[in-house]
């Protein structure tokens, strides 16, 4: 069974998805406070790593990385509601790229599996 990453078309598809996803995030005033004072290029690279991971592409991310990377944001008040917004933007991005519904479900399932680590619970 090939991964969603492969079915989407690999790295070039992820590059297109990153721009789409990041634009949605920056357009959402509910989550933008967490993205202020970040280097946009580094942020885009992190989002690419995230999208690669949730689509089953090559990655070696661990729950520990997720915890460390979001610790300071949890201190700022990052909670389930913000996580929900990000998941929603991810779903919209995939739909925009014409990813079939059942594959979107798979990807969202992987994203959901990081919730506890991201929110440091």
């Amino acid at each position: 069974m090939s991964t969603v990453y492969e079915q989407l078309g690999g790295e070039p598809a992820i590059d297109a998805a990153v721009d789409n996803f990041y634009r949605r995030v920056l357009n959402d005033p509910y989550v933008t406070p967490f993205f202020e004072n970040t280097d946009m290029e580094r942020q885009a690279a992190k989002q690419k790593a995230f999208l690669t991971m949730v689509t089953g592409g090559p990655n070696k991310y661990t729950g520990m990385d997720m915890r460390e990377g979001h610790k300071h944001l949890v201190k700022m008040g990052l909670d389930d509601t913000h996580f929900d917004h990000i998941v929603c933007h991810l779903r919209s991005t995939l739909a925009d790229l014409s990813v079939p519904a059942e594959l979107i479900k798979t990807v969202i399932g992987v994203a959901e599996s990081t919730r506890a680590d991201v929110l440091n619970r």
Binding site: E11, D15, V18, D19, Y22, R23, L26, N27, M40, E41, A44, A45, K46, K48, A49, T52, M53, G57, P58, N59, K60, Y61, D65
Partner: protein, 322 residues
């Protein structure tokens, strides 16, 4: 078995082993995170030897052109010397010409050392010999010119800029090292539209990139926006108008925040102007230069207007405390 030279030591890389793993096995830990070519934490530069194609996949084009690659994706096929930062030799030059471009900007033309090569849009670090004070200045010249050109803005209390502005004279010796910077033109997409936007002496590298693109035969539209607080702060208007008049694809827009804009220009905030004027920026190659708050705001507006993050090149000035 290829040899990897790093900080003066040689390490042997086993067959089918990545450079990152190999160095780790020898106890040398490069910064890394995803180990799968996505996060780019392990970005490394080849000083000697050519990295395999797979190791430059996804690396920004201007960085790849300078030999940057991902250590976690690099299975070396030949001997390489690598470095984390570029080390550049010092060059000695002298001032050939000094002209005031407006009340606070002076243009210095320096002798081009024979062994110095650079790309238009990069910067050099000028050193004051008396106390080794060092400051970065963008190059406004292009490699085809037989001089180096700097635009120096007189910063109140700025030690280097007031010295260059008030004291340095034609014939004086000047040292520098460099070049640095990854904001430069690549000739691989001559038909793509380009957007160049900057404020103040942020014009210097953009002027170089514009002339370089034209020298390389760029055929797509090139839009250059140069901003200042008021008309008195703009400069090189005649030169830029002449370039626009001489090339159908070049469009020059001087922009001022306050007061009346010069002919063909616009009044308003430079941060908003390019996206408002050009509409969708999808597919554009973008070059930004100037003070960090302006560059960062422009980058966000231009990205939101459709430009891809990997196509936005920027060179924010950082002012050292006086």
């Amino acid at each position: 078995m290829p040899t990897i030279r790093f900080e003066g030591n040689d390490y042997f890389c086993a067959e089918d082993e990545t450079l990152l793993d190999s160095l780790e096995r020898h106890g040398v830990m490069l910064p890394s995170s995803c180990k799968s070519g996505a996060c780019q934490t392990c970005l490394t530069r080849a000083l000697e030897g050519v990295p395999p194609v797979a190791a430059q996949k996804g690396v920004k084009d201007t960085l790849a052109a300078q030999g940057y690659f991902l250590a976690c994706m690099c299975k070396p096929v030949e001997d390489m010397e690598i470095g984390l930062a570029s080390v550049s030799p010092k060059y000695a030059t002298q001032v050939l010409a000094k002209d005031q471009l407006n009340e606070s900007v002076v243009r210095l033309r320096l002798e081009l050392p024979t062994d110095f090569s650079y790309r238009a849009g990069q910067f050099i670090n000028v050193i004051r010999a008396s106390d080794d004070l060092t400051r970065s200045y963008s190059l406004a010249s292009i490699p085809g010119d037989d001089f180096l050109e700097l635009h120096v803005k007189r910063v109140p209390e700025g030690r280097m800029s007031t010295w260059l502005f008030d004291e340095v004279a034609v014939g004086d010796a000047l040292n520098y090292f460099g070049p640095s910077g990854d904001s430069f033109y690549l000739a691989d997409k001559p038909e793509r539209p380009l957007l160049l936007a900057g404020a103040g002496t942020g014009l210097a590298p953009l002027y170089g990139i514009l002339r370089d693109a034209l020298a390389c035969g760029h055929s797509g539209p090139v839009h250059i926006f140069h901003a200042s607080l008021a008309t008195a702060g703009l400069y090189l208007m005649d030169e830029l108008r002449a370039l626009a008049d001489g090339h159908d694809n070049v469009h020059y827009t001087p922009c001022v925040l306050h007061g009346e804009a010069p002919a063909g220009g616009m009044q308003g905030n430079i941060v908003d102007i390019p996206a408002k004027e050009l509409g969708s920026l999808r597919g554009y190659g973008v070059y930004l230069c100037g003070d960090p708050p302006i560059v960062n705001a422009l980058r966000q507006k231009i990205f939101m207007a459709g430009a891809s993050m990997k196509d936005i090149h920027s060179d924010p000035f950082v002012f050292a405390p006086a």
